[in-house]
């Protein structure tokens, strides 16, 4: 129904407008309806990273697009918040400053939600309160190990 779509849209838009500057450390973003008819309208993502000009998501850089999408996905998640949220390597295209803010957002969300995230990123690993390592020491067979991050970083350091 029109009313239901509008209400959903407004809630997602409000969350998106809040998550974007948290993840980007500034700037702004919003969702735009492309037509007046709520039953047929499309939704357009407008984003303005800090210092840049407003544009559709398609004109952003690779990392900016990914982070903008994450802001929208967090907002969609909060529409219907589950006890947990699983993330698979969404920090891959981000620079260090953006990973830091992504991690701060994960930390804040973890007040109410169990955040479980797969990552190769050192900053994200350091953020975790509990770090689970997965290994395949026996070929083809996965096992868990508890990870002592200081030890792991020391081994990885060159």
């Amino acid at each position: 129904s029109r009313a239901r779509f509008k209400e959903t849209f407004d809630r997602i838009n409000s969350g998106f407008q809040s998550f974007f500057p948290r993840l980007f450390g500034g700037g702004s973003a919003y969702l735009e309806l492309t037509e007046h008819d709520l039953l047929t309208t499309g939704v357009s993502v407008m984003a303005r990273p800090p210092g840049k000009r407003n544009s559709t998501i398609h004109l952003l850089s690779g990392g900016e697009k990914a982070l903008t999408a994450v802001a929208l996905l967090f907002s969609l998640f909060e529409l219907n918040p589950a006890p947990f949220c699983l993330l698979d390597e969404v920090d891959a295209p981000l620079d260090d400053a953006n990973v830091e803010r992504y991690c701060e957002t994960l930390t804040t969300l973890s007040d109410k939600t169990q955040m479980i995230y797969v990552t190769h990123n050192k900053i994200s690993m350091e953020t975790a309160k509990m770090l689970i390592g997965v290994t395949m020491t026996e070929p083809g067979v996965s096992r868990l190990v508890a990870v002592d991050l200081d030890e792991a970083l020391e081994m990885a350091a060159r």
Partner: protein, 168 residues
């Protein structure tokens, strides 16, 4: 409602029974390429009722069963269990009074696929009914992967609308 443990046995590369203790609200999972991290995510999606093999990165539903390694033979059955703490009573319906809620799925190579709620066999619908209002489910936004990120980025305005309709 909070997740306590994820248990896998025979699921993809987790041939040996494995318990993931969800003992913190901020858990990182790391490890080399190909060690099984995304398989854990597939397992959660699967036990919550995912019925499309494509969304589990396979061609058929039997592809989630451990199919052997150089040292081990393939096995015949896979199972995944999510154990929830419901001491806050936030899960409604017939299970509101349970302090713990376990959902479990088993699959065998002959195509058999069974669901269990607190050890009692049930239908997939009972699992998805349980999830109503909890934000859980195989297609909910509680699982965010690179694939989803890409689809959001590339979505035309009419496609993004569909995302919103499904989320409503």
């Amino acid at each position: 409602m909070r997740l306590k443990t994820i248990k896998l046995a025979g699921f993809k590369s987790f041939v040996d029974p494995t318990t993931i203790p969800v003992s913190s609200n901020l858990i990182g999972i790391c490890g080399p390429n190909g060690c099984g991290k995304s398989n854990i995510i597939d397992a959660v999606r699967w036990v919550m009722g995912e019925s499309s093999a494509k969304n589990l990165r396979g061609d058929s539903m039997a592809d989630v069963i451990f199919n052997g390694s150089s040292a081990r033979k393939p096995i015949g059955q896979a199972s995944v269990e999510l154990l929830f703490d419901n001491s806050d009573g936030s899960v409604g319906g017939p299970y509101a009074s349970y302090a713990e809620i376990s959902i479990r799925r088993e699959a065998a190579r002959d195509g058999r696929s069974d669901y269990f709620l607190n050890k009692t066999r049930c239908r997939r619908k009972d699992i998805t009914d349980l999830f109503l209002g909890t934000g859980l489910g195989p297609r909910a936004y509680s699982i965010i992967e690179q694939d989803m990120v890409t689809r959001v980025i590339e979505a035309k305005p009419e496609e993004l609308r569909v995302f919103f309709e499904e989320a409503a």
